[in-house]
Amino acid sequence: MARGGYGDVVLAAPVTVPYVRYSIRGAHWFLGRALAQLLAAAKIPKQRVDGLAVASFTLAPDTAVGLTQHLGLTLRWLDNIPMGGASAVVSIRRAARAVQNGDAEIVACIGGDTNHTDSFRRNTSAFSQFAQDAVYPYGSGGPNTSFALLTSYYMRTYGARRANFGKLCIAQRNNALKNPLALFKKPLTLDQYLNARLVAEPLRLFDCVMPCAGAEGFLVMRETTARDLGLPFARLLAAIERHNAFPDDPIQFRGGWAMDRDELFAQAALKPADINFVEVYDDYPVINVLQFEDLGFCGKGEGPDFIRANTFETDGTFPCNTSGGQLSAGQAGAAGGHLGAVEAIRQLTGQTLGAPVANARYGLVSGFGMINYDRGICSGAVVLAAD
């Protein structure tokens, strides 16, 4: 049976709770701020929100359930999305079906985390059973170790050079310099990138996201609701998700997008070349390249050539991570999984904080999350269109 389309489902009210490197607040504070900003942006009372999708790593012992009482929400639809970097894409898919079928009218999708001085260590040491048993005891490097291993494999297998990844990081930094909310404010040179402090060979400092605190959010509703509220919106054309794709690969050199991209573009009735900008999950630059390849923007192993052929900046070719991405804006936990979706809605509704992509009509948002053991488990993508 062919999957049904998303009809008149739209996304609106992109908000960002400004990131800070460390915070003394709890995750509830950031998620609560995100909801308040959503209500302010949509000019609706709290009672109008009848659905909520929440992603957070630092909300424990609470989940989305505890948050309803904390924030005084009375809901008829609630979802907890523990999928990190894939959380917004998955929230969109869930929320879209809910509003499409009338289970909810307005769903708030929020992702956010706090960051205390020791929270990153505590989160990674007990990230999953497999990570606790079989990765963390080997040097406690957290995601740096996992991405170093797959970066070194990719470089050896497909002939990528550090300078290739450097170009992506510098382009994102240039995009970030126009975004007032990005935590990184200074330009990045190739020399600085190549000679930065070693973290986990071949990764150096500017290959790695900086953990921080913050939140992101947006609303999912039907077009009629958005028009009634007078909200600019982006349409949801297509969405895919996949978990634990290619489990027999010896190491992750491709993600679930490679299984589902044809369906994604068929559902959107578009070709990769029709996309005007992409927001890909970018905790380390190698994963950007996997997404370019697996989503069909270039072939497997053609990443290095693709990087040479494009600028990735808002005013150049193949604009990518147009607000700076996590690498230059910061990684606020599960907000990192929402940053791309929020920026895509801003681009498609003419509400960018930084530089707009000219004539942006179609944007692709891709998510990737949860290094459960040796690879990221969750992947997904959505295609959004301007009204």
């Binding site: 990674t124 040491s125 048993d133 963390y136 040097g139 490097g141 494999y153 973290v199 040796d374």
Partner: protein
């Protein structure tokens, strides 16, 4: 008394002094949290073996350890020995770590291995492994928290873990270490001293109780250049306390060879007396040593490259299941085994490893009536040194010990019946 002081003074001068102004670093540990199912890896590594879960229904090899087969969802996953053969697919050298233990010892070489039968393993990579991709063999080891970790080593031959400065952390290599052997009067004690000297120990204090009783071999022991005989009677709390006060702060490895064996069935004349003598040495002796020396070893567990690192007990395979012809002795060794488990947990809190040896009958006067094969004191001593150089905590040296272990693991109750019926 003067003789005693002279001996101790000699021992103290010979031990290298360290700068008293420098603070002794406190021990830190690698993360010790494991799920219960993952402790299967540790159980095998404790014996020096690599075992992985294999599905009884579809034969798929599993890793990381889990409750249910990743292929057929069977819950019948059995821990089975694995040859560890595979390919190193990718590697990294980690220069940043979140845990203090790793941070203090950066960098760490870490890789991903694809086993020939399909499982993916995150491993430490031995220095002698060259290039990626390449063929390797995976071994299990115990880290300083006492938990199993996997190592990639070259595919052929045996690999010296100590040759890699990081993986040396997984061993208790006696080279350049200062060691107390608690009893040098027995054939085993003397063989242990010689083997430790040959393994490069920097100095060996050899305990001697009742020095007026001259025993064969003790003169020869004095020819071992690293050895210094010191007075120690493990049945005397004051003697243990005095020696700990004098040398306890310098001991890196304690090897408890003190043993009392009276070949007594429980119904024999004098069984009670035998049991009391055996318990006083084998059980209370260990307790006295633990009380005085364990805190001192723990305090020096991070004291540079020659830190306090291990405690070794020579127990007996009779500790696993009572062997009635040696009924009282078996019971005293079972008591010592139980006590050693408590001591092991205490020592691991500082990263000090406790190794138990479970020899079968030894070729000495107390096992005179036992039929061969019997373990020579030298073979036992060599097994002890190999355990220190390797990475394990339970050692079953010799054919009889291996045989009893296999029978015990397969069916402990069957072994109890066999032994009570006189079937050794």
């Amino acid at each position: 008394m003067r003789q005693r002081e002279a001996k101790v003074a000699e021992a103290t001068t010979r031990a290298k002094r360290k700068n008293p102004i420098l603070r002794t670093p406190l021990p830190t540990l690698p993360p010790g949290a494991r799920s219960r199912v993952a402790l299967g890896l540790t159980a095998a590594a404790a014996r020096g073996a690599l075992e992985l879960q294999v599905c009884r229904d579809c034969a798929a090899v599993q890793y990381p350890p889990r409750e249910v087969c990743r292929d057929c969802l069977s819950s019948r996953l059995l821990w089975r020995p694995h040859n560890g053969e595979g390919e190193l697919v990718a590697e990294t050298v980690l220069h940043a770590a979140q845990e203090l233990y790793f941070r203090e010892r950066l960098p760490w070489r870490i890789g991903v291995v694809r086993l020939d039968d399909g499982a993916n393993l995150v491993v430490y990579v031995h220095e002698s492994v060259r290039g990626t991709p390449c063929r390797i063999r995976v071994e299990a080891a115990l880290d300083r928290a006492g938990e199993a970790v996997l190592l990639a080593v070259p595919p052929h031959g045996s690999t010296d873990l100590s040759a890699d400065p990081k993986l040396r952390e997984m061993t208790c290599d006696p080279r350049r270490r200062k060691i107390l052997v608690t009893d040098g009067k027995s054939a085993i004690g003397q063989a242990v001293v010689r083997a430790l000297a040959d393994a490069g120990a920097e100095m060996i204090w050899v305990g001697e109780a009742e020095p007026w009783k001259k025993i064969a071999g003790s003169a020869k022991l004095r020819e071992v250049p690293q050895a210094t005989v010191v007075p120690l009677d493990v049945t005397d709390s004051a003697s243990v306390r005095e020696l700990a006060g004098e040398i306890g702060g310098k001991v890196d490895i304690l090897v408890n060879t003190a043993d009392c064996h009276r070949t007594s069935a429980i119904g024999a004349r004098g069984a009670l007396n035998a049991a009391q003598l055996e318990m006083d040495v084998n059980y209370f002796g260990l307790l006295r040593l633990a009380k005085e020396f364990a805190p001192l070893l723990k305090a020096r567990a991070a004291d540079g490259p020659a830190n306090a690192i291990a405690w070794v007990n020579v127990l007996s395979i009779f500790a696993l299941s009572n062997y009635p012809p040696h009924g009282t002795y078996s019971a005293s060794k079972a008591a010592a085994l139980s006590l050693s488990q408590a001591l092991r947990g205490d020592l691991y809190a500082a990263g000090v490893r406790l190794i138990n040896l479970f020899p079968g009958p030894v070729d000495d006067e107390w096992d005179q009536l036992e039929l061969p094969p019997k373990l020579s004191p030298n073979a036992l001593a060599n097994a002890l040194v190999a355990a220190l150089r390797g990475s394990m905590e339970d050692v079953y040296p010799g054919e009889v010990a291996q045989d009893w272990l296999a029978r015990h693991r397969e069916n402990a109750k069957a072994l109890e019946r066999e032994l009570s019926e006189g079937n050794r």
